[in-house]
Subunit: 253 residues, 2 copies
């Protein structure tokens, strides 16, 4: 049983490509947001109830749209639709990069992380193309490659995978690289405007800046024509910092 979800919403071409790529590996169930949920990170819906509706988006494949976030979709899928943990959860294919720090803002990756927290092998896939008309054919090839390995070899404990695919034809992609998250981030500038009532409002805009020169990072791999695969953890403890604080702070006076 394979659970498929995403953050762009159930009607996005990316999730259709993902369903097509994984259905050869087992029974597929789709539970995805009924509206775009990009940038929702690990948000959950606490103050409102959720709606869940069966849809016919993918022919014979049982498919449901949910009014909540990507993480809500995974939670409700397990409790109310599957009534068990799936053998695999795949999320995406995201329209746009989730490399580097984007892993933290990404609803796609947070859905996969939610599954991983529940002990389910989980992978998030993203294509470096924001377009609705993006070409997912090379992505589908690599989704199959990755899922095959995950099912055959398993995942290291307490991890999930962040897979990003460069915007290139299949023949130009050089292969897959296991990477670390690049030290790259968004430098924000809000676009300030005035509404017809004279009040200001602000659009989030930003520039992505890579501060990392390493050739073992996801950003490097993608810029050099590789599919990047970053194993991701949800134990956020900065273990090395524990001894620093114990040695340097005055904790006991």
């Amino acid at each position: 049983m394979i659970l498929v979800t995403n953050d762009d919403g159930i009607v996005s071409p990316g999730i259709k490509a993902l369903v097509e790529a994984v259905q050869k590996f087992g029974d597929v169930v789709v539970v995805a947001p009924d509206s775009p949920q990009s940038g929702m990170g690990h948000a959950i819906t606490i103050h409102e109830p959720l709606r869940l509706q069966k849809v016919n988006q993918f022919g014979d494949i049982p498919s449901y749209q949910c009014s909540g976030t990507p993480v809500d979709c995974v939670k409700i899928a397990i409790d109310k639709i599957l009534h068990r943990k799936p053998d695999l959860c795949v999320s995406g294919i995201n329209h746009g990069s989730n490399a580097a720090i984007n892993v933290i803002y990404s609803g796609t990756m947070s859905a996969a992380m939610e599954a991983a927290i529940d002990g389910i092998p989980a992978v998030g896939f993203s294509l470096l193309d924001f377009s609705f008309e993006a070409d997912f054919s090379a992505s589908k090839f690599y989704v199959e490659k990755v899922v095959e390995q995950v099912l055959a070899k398993g995942m290291p404990g307490d991890s999930l995978l962040n897979v990003n695919i460069p915007k290139l034809p299949l023949s130009e992609i050089k292969g897959m690289k296991i990477c670390r998250q690049s030290n790259a981030k968004w430098v924000e500038e809000f676009d300030e405007r005035t509404d017809p009532n004279g009040k200001n409002y602000y659009w989030l805009t930003g520039k992505f800046v890579n501060f990392d020169q390493g050739d073992d990072t996801d950003v490097w791999a993608l810029e050099n024509g590789f599919v990047s695969i970053v194993p991701v953890q949800y134990d956020l403890t900065h273990h090395h910092a524990i001894s620093f604080i114990n040695q340097n702070w005055k904790l006991h006076d």
Copy 2:
């Protein structure tokens, strides 16, 4: 310059307590959500513009409410209000625990993490009491202790702090403990109901289960009367998994 934010909203008693506790350390500016944003994780607002309004919530202290998420508040504060990075960002005091896996769902912690990503020393504070009438007096004592150490001794690079305070009078708190994130998580059950139109809706409910027997965890510390301090990282790479995958997967055929 100290930036104060939270996820319970600018009118919550927790942020008032935090402002009172940190103002002895420097000039304070408050930028916080105009409505409750619990469970928003690292969500950012992409598809809608943000509103920002100056308010008089804290007397002479410059204070702004923002229509966005806690992470939005930090981003817009730096770009549009402070026009520089603050020397410290504190978030909270959250009404309710952010120990263990809650760090991932928490808007309080994500605001602090956003500041840390930007290179700003950052701490999220939470009291283990969901009540609006929670007593923050012991919390304020420990906010001062922690902020004093952060300003004097600095933070280890690339980390922030997740500070949780037990629901106890000051005299019964045994001190502070540097901890790791406990392996504890939510086991969900959705509460299914039917609306007056005959359609189902679902409330997220859950039970918090600790799978971790360690006495070096945040959950252990809190259950044993200590303030827990977990250093948190935003490099989500599972570094140990990189060699596992390189050794076990067929990557190059």
